[in-house]
Structures are given as C-alpha cells and as structure tokens.
Symmetry: C3
Subunit: 157 residues, 3 copies
C-alpha cells in the first residue's frame, strides 16, 4: 500500500472523511512552506463543523477517547500536507509534533494520549513518520477540544 | 505605507512605544538567528517594566482585553525583529506563532484571543504576515501575564 | 575544560549519571536530525526509571526544586545530543527551548524555573548555549513531572 492508501485506510477505520476542506477557526493559514520545511497549524479533532472529542481527559473523556482524538488531529495534519503537496509520499520526515491535552489536575498519561497520534504517523508514513514529540496537559483548548496537535515536517522533491 | 510605518501606526493605536529596549525576564536571549530563520523568545504583554494585561481570561480579563494583550505580544515580537534586522521589510514570512492564554477552566475562545496577534501580523506585514498558529489555554504564565506568544520567522536578504 | 567535561561536571554536581540509555515514554524517537538542525523530544526530569522531581510547583514543590528539575531536563536533552553526535562540541547553537512548568494557579515564576535549564546550557556550551526561550505554566505533565523541556539545536560539522 502507498502512504496515501494507508491514510485512506485510517480514515475508513476512524469512520471520517478527511478529503474535503479542512476548516480553520481563525485569521491564519493551515500550512506554511519555507524551503523544504512545512509548518502545520494546531489541529483540534474537528471533522467538518464538529469537534468530535470535547471535554476534559481524566473526567468525562477516557484515555481511549483521547487517543482517538489524537488520531483525528494527526489525520487532519496529514490531510493538510496531502492537500498542499498532492501526496503524502512527499513527506521526508515528521520532525516534531506537540500534543496538548485538556486534562484534570491528576491525569498524567499525556504520553499515552499522544501515542494515538504517533501510531497514525508511523502507520501511514513508515520510517518518515518517526518523529520527536512533546506532550503536555493544558487547562483548556479552543472549542473545548480534548486534544490539539501541531507539527513540522521535512518535505522532499 | 511601509511595513515599518504600519508598525508605528499600530504602536500609536495601542498607545505604547516599542522602540526602546525590550526587557527580558531571565537568563536567555530575545532573538536567535540561524541562517535565514529567526527564533523569537516568548513575549508577554510587557511595556517597559509593566505587564499591561495580567490575570485570568474568562474571569477578571475579558476577551477584548486578552486580544489587546495578544496584540502587544505580537508588537513586541515585531519590535525585536526590527531591532535585530533594521527593518521589518526583511521579514519574508512568519512561519509559526504559538499563543498561550492564561484562562479559566471554561474559557474556549483561545483562537479569538490569538486573532488579536494575527491581525497585527497581517496588517503590518501583509502577505509575509500570513502564518501558521497554535493557541492553547494554560494554567498560569510568567508574571501573571494573560497571554504569551512566541514565533519563528523566515528572513530575506 | 571542554564542553563534554563541563557536562560531566554538571552531572557530578547534580549527583546523577546521564551516560546510560535515556528512556523514552512512548512511541516516538528522542532526536530527529534534519540537515544541520536537531529536534529533541520533550524531556521530563527522569533519571533511569525514576522521575526525580514530581508534583505541583508552588505547592509541594519549591522554586529551588523546580529549578533543579529544569536542570535535569536540560542535562537529558544535552545527553541525547551527545549520544547522537558523539560530542557536545558539535552544538553550534541552541535555537529554542520551551519549558513547561506544572504549577499552582497562583505561581508566576516560570522564568525563574526555566533559568535552571538556561544556566546548564550556558555553563556547558558557552556562547553556543545562548538560546531563545518560552516558559509557561501548565496543568499537568506526563508522569506528574514538575517540569518538561524540549529544544531545537543547530549543529556544526
């Protein structure tokens, strides 16, 4: 399977389509390209007009739901790269992802939440998906999203 | 109007001067340049010795006040680039801004706060100011600041 | 003293060894190199299997303990660069560090906490250790760590 086919496979598995317009909630741009680097804006687990996982992880949101949220965030970021570059084959390496988790004061499994995003990147991109990562627990996120993720990718010609 | 004139216009509109020394609150440096990239340290809305917007957004700080805080943070970041490079004309593109908002547990308009910073960047820099963005809600910030912003810019010769 | 000797000196001063395997708590990689840039994943103050400073800064964790946590995080990041490149002499410049502090709602000395990390970088690397910095107060961190730090470094041949 190609990277794009594996992306479509993950979309099918999650039950969401990521091939339409990716909506952005403010006065900025989803992707900026500088030389061979692509910066992707912070993604919440929005599909169409709906943020599909909202609320505080460790309270009304379970670890499993939060991992799914992280997967949707990662898929959105990949969808934006695919739209920008035509194919995910162009991704040379994911350099860095930062994963912000809206959590309770006692929730400490941010790495496990972020593993949801890392699994998507590894499965879809293979070796090119092996990234550095920072995951932290924040107090709130835009639109009450449970997870937000941004990334920097190194692209190839 | 040139980018520098538009910067001065925004400073006038906000009622603050950004042409003096930009104070830094610790053992680090405000800007590091690596090749054509400029990294700017996290900026709180400090003018001179005073952080002009402090407190928790959604409680004692309104959305409008927080947007103004984000504007001051963005102006500080631009002031640092102008000091470093002589003119904002040198900015080729703002690649990424990250906006941290000290907020209540129920405040979810972080994107709207960050729009304050994005408006400054777009107005002053035009197309070069179109950036990627991540905005999150944090528990506290240095000196009880309501907003903190950092950025990476691509500079040109 | 060489940079590597100064690193060993700091390890001795902290009372920890940083020359073994640096454990990573999830499905990602500690360092990614892209051209001359090295991205280092978020580091908590873990030594071997133990996170040596846990809990909320401003409550059960003092400023001094948090500064020590930041020092350990910075040493871990340097240890990873040393493992990857053979010597810290290869570091041309630390471009950016981001310091996340798990704190109380009233704790505002995040810059002072981050100064712990900045002191390590400056002492070990000299001029190459002068970096940009963002420090914020978050609600929780992986494994209840008190501090987390990530960085980007520019390497030389």
């Amino acid at each position: 399977m190609s990277t794009d086919q594996r992306f479509d496979d993950w979309a099918h598995r999650l039950g969401y389509a990521f091939d339409g317009e990716i909506k952005i909630g403010g006065n900025y741009t989803p992707v900026v390209v500088d030389g061979h680097l692509a910066y992707v804006s912070g993604q919440v687990p929005r599909v169409g007009d709906t943020v599909v996982v909202t609320g505080r992880v460790g309270a009304e949101v379970s670890l499993e739901q939060a991992q799914r949220a992280a997967q949707v965030c990662a898929m959105r970021a990949l969808a934006l790269l695919r739209q920008q570059f035509g194919s995910l084959d162009r991704v040379g390496r994911i350099l860095r992802i930062t994963v912000f988790v809206q959590c309770t004061d006692a929730f400490t499994q941010h790495s496990e939440v972020a593993d949801g995003a890392s699994a998507v990147l590894s499965d879809v991109l293979g070796e090119a998906g092996r990234h550095t990562r920072t995951s932290v627990g924040v107090f709130q996120l835009p639109k009450n999203a449970s997870v937000e993720l941004d990334l920097i990718a190194s692209m190839q010609a």
